[in-house]
């Protein structure tokens, strides 16, 4: 096995381990929540007999480690449990919502990444000029604003007060997917993109600036290569590793950030389901969504690590392998 493959496999193993630890933590945290799940499911009809019967049915009378293992077994086989609020399987509740949230994430990534990389590169190449200060200043201001404020400002600007050209909330007819009315996606995606872009811009600018000052870039210039070639062939490849890390971290953050944005725009994704589930003490739904977000976080970071490894010439060409 090549050292490169071994290194990637090791990262993968670590990721799986992290997920197992996270699943234990999630399970333990929900054990600590006040209230009895059976009572929560039954609500007003919680007579002692029915609570006892349901507790047995849900296995609440068994010891915690045994329950954890059966929950984990369910998760691995695609059974995320039973929702107290809908009285149905969690997978049914989350099915469409995962797709809706994923759409939001993918669109945000597609919009924000090229824009951020281009802006960051431009600022780095034109360090010290007005373009640079405009890009850096704006991204600093945007980075300081919470997503809620950005969202509200966009709604005021484009939906309710100044211009009334975009819808402010997502309303899908029953059975209609969220992308059936693309105009409803504009403001949520734009909000998330404006939150993510500043960090990537700043990282791209910093990394590329550093690279442009490096000896090998100077060397390439001295060889008489055109500046364009210097930039694209010699400088940019060195920024891929660190910038991919930042993009991955931003995407991972998005998985949590959608909670607020989905709430504000009434977007029917997992973030809204999480808020609803917490309010209803719908424990198994909370567990499932938390685990999904954690898994996404770990996977995206893994992907970034792998991209970093593949992009780093020192590692790629090293014959001995080992640390980064």
């Amino acid at each position: 096995m090549s050292p490169l493959a071994r290194m990637i496999l090791r990262r993968l193993a670590v990721s799986v381990l992290i997920l197992v630890v996270v699943s234990v933590l999630i399970f333990a945290a929900t054990l600590l929540l006040p209230g009895d799940p059976a009572r929560a499911i039954l609500g007003q009809q919680a007579t002692p007999e029915r609570v006892a019967a349901l507790s047995e049915q849900l296995g609440l009378d068994r010891p915690a480690p045994e329950r954890y293992l059966s929950w984990l077994g369910g998760v691995l086989t695609g059974d995320l449990g039973y929702s107290a609020a809908t009285q149905g399987p969690v997978t049914e509740l989350l099915g469409g919502r995962i797709g809706a949230s994923a759409l939001l994430l993918v669109l945000t990534a597609l919009v924000s990444t090229p824009v951020a990389l281009a802006l960051g590169a431009r600022a780095a190449v034109r360090r010290g000029t007005r373009t640079d200060s405009a890009v850096s200043g704006t991204s600093l201001v945007l980075a300081a604003l919470p997503e809620f404020v950005i969202g509200v400002l966009l709604v005021v600007l484009f939906a309710t007060s100044v211009l009334r050209i975009l819808p402010s909330v997502t309303i899908a007819r029953p059975g209609e997917p969220v992308w059936a009315r693309p105009e409803q996606l504009v403001l949520p995606v734009l909000t998330l993109a404006l939150v993510v872009i500043p960090y990537v811009v700043r990282m791209m600018r910093a990394t590329l600036s550093e690279t442009l000052d490096a000896g090998y870039v100077e060397m390439a210039r001295l060889k008489g290569l055109p500046e364009r070639t210097v930039l694209l062939r010699h400088a940019v490849p060195h920024t891929i590793g660190p910038v991919a890390q930042v993009i991955a971290l931003q995407l991972a953050w998005l998985a949590g950030g959608v909670v607020v944005v989905e709430f504000l725009f009434r977007y029917p994704g997992i973030g809204q389901a999480l808020i609803d589930a917490v309010a209803n003490r719908d424990v198994q739904v909370v567990q499932a969504i938390t685990l999904i977000i954690a898994a996404f976080y770990v996977l995206v970071n893994l992907a970034a690590d792998v991209a970093g490894i593949l992009a780093d010439p020192r590692i790629r060409h090293s014959s001995t392998g080992g640390g980064s």
């Binding site: 809908t86 509200v152 309303i171 007819r173 709430f263 309010a279 003490r281 739904v285």
Partner: protein
Amino acid sequence: MISPTGAPLSRRRLLGGAAGLAAATALAGCGGPAAAREAGPPRRGGVLRVGVTGGGSSDTLDPHSPATNPDIARTLSLYEPLLHWDDAYTLQPAVAESVTPEPGARAWTARIRAGITFHDGRPVTPDDVVATFRRITDPDDPKSGASQFGILDDVVVASDSSVRFVLSEPSPVFDQYLAEYSCGIVPADFSLEDPVGTGAFRYASFTPGQQSAFVRHDGYWRPGQPWVDRLELINFSEDDARINALLSGQVDAIDQVPLSLTEVVGSYDSVRLLTSETGSWLPFTLRVDVAPFDDVRVRQALRLVAGRGELVEQVLSGQGAGAVDLYARFDPEYLDPAREQDLQRARDLLARAGKPNLSLELVTSPIQAGTVEAAQVFATQARAAGIEIGLRRVDTSTFFSDQYLQWEFAQSFWNTRNYLPQASQSSMPDSPFNETHWDDAQYQSVVRRARSELDPRVRAQLVRAAQRIEFERGGYLIWGFPDRVDAHQAYVGGLVPNRTGLSLSGYEFRKAWVSA
């Protein structure tokens, strides 16, 4: 625009309310739309889209267990009870043409409206009515309306168009219970998969936590109504999203504009506010069976501490009426006494009770708009009388957990009811929600006599006597009746102020039309 309340701003209120809507008003001037389209005379056709507060994945279509606002709005669209509270909070016939007591009021007869049909075209029969009440009071699965039918012994078919309610004790006000929205009449073979009723709208689709849609019931019995062909109810868990949806024209009407934002929303030309006086009330609950509230002087002192005008001004932005520790303001016998803030007398009472430096913990929760703010304002007022009130804020599900009805000093929320039905809900030993553990022998005997007294004049006297007892020594501290403020587009007509405490003309969308 936002009144200077004593309440500290939460993150959401600051960002959503102040930043968003203040900016909105400031900017509204520059880009206002052309003259608003007006509603005009009633018109058939069109779609009405309504944003409704609350709801979630536990939403239901069950006619007899509505819990959240969207549940109630759906219930009132699909189903109808035998009787009906109109906009002025008076009883009117609905599925029943008449409901009359037999002499002695130990039994009542309901005559079913001639020609009334369910959505599937079948006529409403006495068997359907009997089955409906069996379903509500099913001992294995009692629905939320069941508690008020404790005195209902049996429902039997009396003729081919009437049913007879047999009671365990005389009840001259039994007809009021039949008008609650959780008693909608359904067919004997009712199932949730096919939610059929006699309401103005037929079921079309339902996604819990998201929205539901309904179409016109062409065989509806009220002439002309409903005006619109299609009704869509859309859940909103977030105030700002709901208001933004109205302002951007994605919905035609919304319920519950936060009282601190009514001025801002009302400043839009295209939007009309709908303000209703209601009999809903937001009390503080003092458990009369635990110290220090078991001492009547402590309860009296706390009631004297409350500055009711200031509470209405600060908590409700002045949109409501002050209350003086009595509920049921629309009951014909409402006492409407006076009780002014009197800190000196409050101090004297506490000194005589041996508790000059009283320190209390008040459990508060955002169970209704304004409850937490009311707790904060009241705590400030109490400090002036030397009473230290610490606030313990819990979330709504904790508030209504097993500990609900056990809290010693907390808050509550009730909708409009007349005096005796409300007393049965909350002030009697057999009440399902006796929050204050109120257990006063003299009071109970007066209320019991009133409940079965057939002479309306004597009953009126008894109801007033019961109110005097609660006013003097009860466990509720009631400071105000909040107005209900909803909003709709100018092109929506037919929605009128309604006293029931339910939003948007009592969620009776059959009355609404949209102009072309």
